[in-house]
Structure formats: C-alpha cells, structure tokens
C-alpha cells in the first residue's frame, strides 16, 4: 500500500468523534455550527457529478470538519473485476476532499455491467475470500489509503458458506491490512435474522481493527416461517437494543468514531444531532475510562 500523498485538509478526527450523514437539506444547520457534531460522512457516489451545489457544500463542510467517504457502489464482492473507471472517480474524490476515512461494504451490487443498486450478500468461503482480498488491495493501492470494510446486514445465508462472517472479515483484515467498519445495527439485524447472539458476534470480532462504528434504525418484517425478519432500512431512529449493543461494544474496545446513519425519512437536523449527542456521551464515558486506566 502506498503512503498517503496528502494530509487531511481539516481538523483531525478524534477517537471519541461523533458524526452524522451529511444531507443537503441540513447544510445551513451544519455550517452554522454549535451542534456538537465532530465529523460528517457522505456517500461517495452522490458527489460524482461534475460540479454544482453538492460539491460547493462539501467543500465548505470539509474546510471545517473531518470527512468520512462512504462508498455504496464499488461492488467489492463482484465475481468480475472492480470497475476501474469507478475506482478512478473515487481517487479523484479522495484527492479533492482528503477524507480521513474511506469505507465500502462486504457485498456486491454490480453484475455484468448492470448496477442493481442494493448491497447483495456473499457466500463466505475461500473463493470469495481470495476475490475480496484482491479487490481490497486494489482499492487501497489506487486510493493510497487504508480502507475500512463494513459488515453487511443480510437476509439470507448461502449453503456454500464454510466460515463465519466474523472469521471472514478478520481474515480479510489480517491479509490486506485493511480496517473494519463495525455497523452495530447490521450485527443486530443479522443476529435476529440468522439466529445468533449479537454480543457473541461482537466478542469474536477483531475490535482492534475497527476504525469506525455505524448506528442506524431498522424496519421489521416476517420471514417464511413467520419469524422476525429485520430490514436495514435507515429510516428510523437507532433502536434501544442497538444502543445497548453499542454500549457493550464500547466497553470492550474503547472509543471509536461513531456515525448516525439516516438515509430515508430524513429527520430534522436537531433530531440527528440528539442521537449523535447520545453516542457522544457513551464515547466520553469510555474515553475517561481509558484515560484513568492509563494513568
């Protein structure tokens, strides 16, 4: 992996930083400050137009806050190769806005040149592992920075899987040097959907590799046997069960930059800021604990 050629443009992101997804309708609230939010995250693909208000707003936000760039369209899990043109577009965004974090998903979304616009599940086995590792290395080489790979919310499992998701992610991180984005909501959703204990997943997770946490809300449905099926919908506040899992995760690994994700039914900025403040109080409690144990 090449070293970073450029330094971040704005202030550095601290381990107890809280962020929210940057929405155009919140631009004035964000830029007027006083909201206690430490960083902002954007979906990379929303800033791949040539110019216009999105770039104007992002430039202003980046002058004052650290940025996390979150890809939703690279299709790292595609059986075919990565889309080089898309990778080059990501590189241009990295060069222009100097994000402190870049993350993508353990998922696929493109098949034979057609973009399916969803994060689709993968079988966890040695063939997928080799493919993902090669793609992660290609991304890190191209962007000149370490990437974070995010655990997905899934609704089905594959008969051809022969390792657990945690084992899979830990191996990718060990082989490629990448970091991990731990989406605590996705852990909870997948735990209910596949019948595992979410905290057991966290206990097994390589927490020393985690560079960012995502928190979001889920929707609820029923599966083929009328059991609960949770959907990673990003359209509601973070659920209490997910907050509880988050607190237990922070107690285990210490503070990690934490983002509140909200992509549908966008709430007023103050409501998002209140959720971020709730995460901040958890992070600060564990920052103090880390400082005390170091003293």
């Amino acid at each position: 992996m090449k070293p970073r050629a450029n330094d971040p443009a704005g202030p550095l992101l601290a381990s107890d930083g809280v962020g929210v997804g940057l929405k155009h309708e919140h631009a004035d609230d964000v830029l007027s400050g006083g909201h206690g939010i430490d960083f902002f995250e954007v979906h990379a693909e929303n800033y791949m137009g040539d110019g216009g208000p999105p770039h104007h707003m992002l430039g202003e936000v980046c002058a004052h806050y650290p940025l996390s760039l979150h890809g939703v369209g690279l299709s790292i899990g595609s059986a075919g190769g990565l889309d080089r043109a898309h990778l080059a577009r990501l590189r241009r965004l990295v060069d222009r806005y100097r994000p402190q974090l870049f993350s993508e998903h353990l998922a696929w979304s493109t098949h034979e040149g057609r973009f399916l616009n969803d994060l689709l599940p993968l079988p966890y086995n040695s063939e997928t592992l080799a493919r993902i590792c090669a793609h992660v290395e290609e991304v890190q080489d191209c962007l000149g920075m370490r990437m974070l790979l995010e655990n997905p919310a899934t609704y089905v499992a594959f008969e051809t899987s022969d390792m657990s998701e945690v084992e899979f992610l830990a191996t990718v991180a060990a082989r490629t040097g990448c970091g991990l984005l731990l989406d605590v909501n996705n852990v909870y959703v997948a735990g209910i959907n596949h019948g595992f204990e979410p905290m057991a997943y966290i206990d097994a997770f390589p927490l020393d590799r985690v560079g960012e946490i995502h928190l979001a809300g889920f929707a609820e449905d029923r599966d083929d046997e009328n059991a609960r099926l949770l959907i990673d919908a990003h359209g509601t506040p973070v659920a209490d069960a997910v907050w509880a899992l988050y607190r237990r995760t922070m107690a285990r690994c210490g503070p990690v930059p934490t983002l509140i994700e909200r992509d549908n039914d966008i709430s007023p900025f103050a409501a998002l800021a209140a959720e971020a403040a709730r995460a901040k109080s958890v992070l600060e409690a564990h920052s103090r604990r880390v400082l005390q144990s170091a003293a």
Binding site: N46, G49, G52, R114, L120
Partner: protein, 267 residues
C-alpha cells in the same frame, strides 16, 4: 465460470424475474426455504430504482400519482437497469420510454415534462463555469457581432414542446402564486445553472431555435437566419436579450475570416 460468478448470475436472474423461484443455494435461519427473505432483496432493488427516478422526476410523479409512477418506473427499471453506480444520472432514457409507454398516452405532455426535469437534474450537477458578464457583449464591436460564435454554459438545455410544459411544470411547483399566461399553447423552456441555483425560464420557440443554432456552432448571423427560417415571428434583438439575460454565454469563439477553417469541426 467460477462458482461465485455462477452464484451471482443466478441471484441476479431471480432478482429481476419475479416469476423465477429464489436461488437454490440460499437459506434462512432454519436452513429451510427463504422465498420471503429473498423477496427483501427483490423489493430493495425495485423500490430503490423507483425511488431514484422519483427523486429525479418529481413533477412526473405528481402528475400521474404515486401508484402509476411506481408501476411505470418498475417497467422501465426492469428493461433499463443502471449501467453505472452513479444514480444521479439514472433515467436518461426515461423521457423517451414515457413517450412510448401506452398507459401514459392520456397524458401526452408527460415525456416533455420528464425532459424538462432531466435537464434540471443535469444542470444541477453540471460543471461550474463562470458566465460572461452582460457587458462583455457591449464590448463587441458591431461589425464583428454577426460573425461571432458563442461558447455556451455546460449546464444549458433547451426543451421545446407542442404542449405548455413550462406552465404545467410551474403550476406543480407553486400552484398558489402561478397564473397561466395563455390558454393551452406550445411552450419552450431554457434550463441552466450559471451560478449555484438552477434557473428554469419560459422562452419563445424563436429563442429556442436561435440558441440551438448557436449551440450547434453557428455564428450569431447564422443563428438569426436559422431561427427566422424556423419561426417567422422571430425577433433577433429580443432573442439576443434572452441569451444575454440567461447568463449562459461563457466565451466568444472564432470571428470573421476563420469561419471556413473551423466549419468542418463543428459537430
């Protein structure tokens, strides 16, 4: 084909064709059937693409209603999956699709409204270029004006229609403040974003013919002739004023004497 490629190929086929069963190699929590679970992905794909179109074509959606739009978007998306992960530009062929979409025939202006909204989306994301100040035109000497070519802003689009598309579009933005200028008449629209805000203005069909001739590389004199041929009521001073007022000229091109040299390279 590798087994991962085969898995993704079968998964994609089942995603897009609702008459097919869920892929054979997927399982739910009890290791049994997972049809309803697979349906979550089917719904995500269908509703995600429809939502992307609804974001880009809000007035089209308003005109036909949520349910009709969703059904129309689903038919379109099934035939025209995105070819790029940049969803900002998804739906470039949606207006032409609407023109041919039989159930939308009772709304004959729907395709042109979609063209207008697509132009607004393109303008929003177009490259930023500072337009010339209006006094740049005053600085051109009158003997050179006729042979001047203009370079136009990358955000500019002209939409002409045989329906009052500007009035229909505008009425669906702010029905309280809008008063129709005339009864049912054909309208043309200029869309551009010279600064940060997308501007949508009604122009005459003569203005439209004039700007289009300029966009095709014609000199001002050639554009006047083209517009007069197309629209007998064309007024050169008025259309020039519209062009200048819209702030869409970003530079002047070749002048007198160079016309023949560059003519072959004009698209």
């Amino acid at each position: 084909m590798t087994s991962l490629a085969r898995t993704q190929s079968e998964f994609t086929k089942s995603l897009l064709d609702r008459t097919m069963p869920a892929p054979a190699d997927i399982r739910g929590a009890s290791r049994r059937r997972a049809d309803r679970r697979f349906a979550v992905y089917r719904n995500n794909v269908a509703s995600g693409l429809a939502q992307a179109l609804a974001t880009r074509f809000p007035v089209v959606k308003r005109l036909v209603g949520e349910e009709f739009f969703r059904a129309m978007a689903h038919v379109y998306a099934t035939a025209e999956l995105p070819r790029s992960p940049i969803m900002l530009y998804y739906g470039e062929t949606f207006p032409a699709f609407i023109d041919d979409f039989e159930p939308a025939r009772p709304v004959p202006y729907l395709g042109d409204i979609a063209r207008l909204e697509m132009a607004r989306g393109r303008a929003y994301h177009a490259a930023d270029v500072t337009p010339l100040e209006p006094d740049a035109f005053a600085a051109l000497s009158s003997d050179r004006l006729a042979d001047t070519r203009v370079r136009l802003h990358p955000s500019l689009s002209i939409i002409t229609s045989s329906h009052p598309i500007y009035s229909i579009w505008h009425m669906n933005q702010d029905p309280v403040r809008f008063t129709p200028a005339s009864p049912w008449a054909k309208e043309a629209v200029l869309v551009a974003r010279p600064r940060l805000k997308v501007r949508t203005q009604r122009i005459t069909h003569g203005d439209a013919a004039f700007v289009r001739a300029l966009a095709a590389g014609g000199t001002l004199a050639e554009a006047v002739i083209a517009a007069r041929d197309a629209v007998p009521a064309f007024s050169a001073p008025e259309s020039l004023a519209v062009l200048i007022g819209a702030r869409v000229v970003i530079g002047f091109g070749e002048e007198l004497g160079r016309t023949q040299d560059i003519y072959g390279s004009i698209p």
